[in-house]
């Protein structure tokens, strides 16, 4: 008799697509109840959206002014207070979930499973290790309770809507630690679709050479209605902001179409795109490793091929 709690991720007004994907992982456990926990400062929108996801049996809201910008040190004690009612607690393996859930595990003194890519049973899970070069099956012993896991969102489709779960408010239990203070978030807030959930992504690498040159990647993406991504080398060189990095230490994504431009295909980059539907690579080096995984490889100079591709669309 499993009861799963999914920690919602949202921006204050909208639930992040990562939540609906995490829910699919939670439903795969075969639980009798799957509830969603929403932290925030009066997060009515996200709570309502969570209640409408199919398969959700209940929504819990814990609201406080200082939850407007969630900090793991504040949320973890609240989660410990509600944890005893659940066999499983899942969070998305986004930076939010990866920051928070191990802190909860530390307080509860249990191990945690990171990046679940497949649910085999309520106690058996598959996850990638060594940048995706190996997959390990993890079995959780019966005495380890509750089971804490982050769900690799690229491995699960979002659950649909159609639910109408009840929303319940819970008072915050723990006193907020003052040793950690939120100051600010700076994002590019760029237009265009969100990289993590976009169905088409165009990524540029070191070969672009400058932020100005990267404009041709933005331009193609715009034409395709695609999100823009980048290799680590392109981010390190300052062509685009860090949140556009794809790969082991950036975002793990699964778009229907991924177009890699001037990216060599290092293992750490490929980890981020192995679940993409179709991969296109444009690179002037016919031996570049990216071509081994590309469904369609085009060999040549990106500065000629990209404008040509844009014109052909």
């Amino acid at each position: 008799m499993s009861k799963v709690l999914v920690i919602a991720e949202h921006n204050g007004t909208d639930l992040s697509p990562a939540t609906a994907k995490t829910l699919t992982g939670a439903l795969a456990v075969g639980a009798e109840a799957v509830e969603v926990l929403v932290f925030g400062h009066d997060p009515q929108g996200p709570a309502q959206q969570a209640a409408e996801l199919s398969g959700v049996t209940g929504v819990k809201v814990i609201s406080a002014p200082h939850f407007a910008n969630p900090l793991a040190a504040q949320l973890a004690p609240e989660m410990v207070a509600v944890a005893s009612g659940y066999t499983h607690i899942f969070a998305p393996s986004t930076t939010f979930g990866r920051d928070l859930l191990p802190r909860v595990a530390g307080l509860l003194r249990v191990n945690q499973i990171s990046d679940v890519m497949e649910v085999l049973s309520d106690r058996s899970f598959k996850r990638p290790i060594y940048a995706g070069n190996a997959i390990v099956t993890v079995n959780v012993p019966a005495s380890s309770k509750p089971i804490l896991a982050t769900i690799r969102t690229a491995s699960f489709a979002a659950t649909g809507v159609g639910g109408s779960a009840a929303i319940e408010s819970i008072e915050p239990q723990a006193s907020a630690p003052t040793h950690t203070r939120y100051l600010k978030t700076e994002g590019s807030g760029g237009e265009g679709p969100d990289l993590s959930s976009a169905s088409v992504v165009v990524s540029g690498g070191r070969a672009l050479g400058s932020a100005e040159n990267f404009e041709i990647v933005h331009s193609l993406a715009k034409k395709l209605g695609a999100a823009v991504g980048a290799s680590r080398a392109a981010v390190d060189a300052g062509y685009v902001p860090n949140e556009l990095q794809v790969g082991q230490t950036g975002k793990i994504i699964a778009p229907d179409l991924y177009i890699a431009v001037g990216i060599s295909g290092a293992i750490q980059h490929l980890t981020g795109i192995k679940d993409a539907g179709t991969i296109v690579a444009i690179n002037k080096d016919a031996e570049a490793p990216i071509f081994e995984v590309a469904d369609f490889g085009l060999v040549g100079d990106l500065f000629e091929l990209l404008p040509e591709l844009e014109r052909a669309l």
Partner: protein
């Protein structure tokens, strides 16, 4: 100020790791081993803090087999002052690693603990957060900038939405991301000098660990291979192929 830096010995990031034929693990025999790249960045940051005069001692610690001494020696050559090896041949999961580091913290009383944001072998990204929770101290994960102001630190974190800045009181655990700095190369004279620096080895059984419940690693397999490798002649052929798949 005293800084504790954790250094994990892992398969070098350039090695393409293979699963053993019998699925019992990954092939590590004869494979190049290195300091976890994120931990190297953590140590580099500690050294820069010390060079700025904001710290006076750096202790590096590792949990693992005797061979970890190599990575600790490299850490000493980079600029750490002392090293601690908690020796075990067992595979250590993050909860136990955090328990061990908590014991070391109790003995060493550091003002700052710098760790990698993840180990590139297990890719767990858990140990720092677990340690901070058990120690009941702040955590700042995925750091790309650290500014110390006496009793607190301002940390810029690489999060999905961009860059988040938080302030944490010290002592705290900070886990570092790749863009924090670029680690220095060690020079031969430093490697020679490092041989004289103290390296304390203690068996894991001396750490008085509780009964952590380990997960069972029930089998390893290679990832599914993508059926790639096809090339197209030109842009027109690419557009055609994508249209056929209904992607354009």
């Amino acid at each position: 100020m005293k800084i504790l830096v954790t250094l994990k010995r892992v398969v070098d990031y350039n090695v393409r790791v293979r699963v053993k034929n019998d699925g019992s693990g990954v092939e590590t025999d004869g494979v190049k081993m290195s300091i976890n790249p994120f931990d190297e960045i953590a140590l580099e940051e500690a050294i820069r803090i010390k060079e700025r005069g904001e710290a006076n001692e750096i202790v590096v610690a590792s949990i693992g087999p005797d061979a970890c001494q190599q990575q600790l020696r490299t850490g000493l050559a980079m600029g750490a002052d002392r090293a601690i090896l908690v020796e075990t041949d067992a595979l250590i999961q993050p909860l136990s690693a955090a328990e061990v580091f908590l014991k070391i913290i109790e003995q060493e009383q550091p003002d700052l603990v710098l760790m990698g944001k993840q180990a590139i072998d297990d890719d767990c990204s858990q140990t720092g957060q677990m340690l901070a929770a058990m120690w009941d101290r702040p955590q700042a994960t995925f750091a790309s900038e650290i500014v110390l102001n006496g009793q607190s630190a301002q940390v810029t974190r690489e999060v999905d939405a961009g860059l988040e800045t938080i302030e944490v009181d010290l002592p705290a655990v900070i886990t570092v991301d790749l863009r924090l700095n670029e680690p220095r190369f060690v020079k031969l004279p430093e490697i020679m000098k490092a041989k004289k620096k103290p390296l304390d080895v203690k068996p894991l059984s001396d750490m008085g660990l509780g009964a952590e419940e380990d997960f069972e690693m029930a089998g390893y397999e290679a990832p599914a291979k993508r059926a790639g490798g096809q090339k197209v002649e030109d842009v027109a052929a690419l557009v055609n192929a994508l249209k056929q798949r209904g992607l354009l």
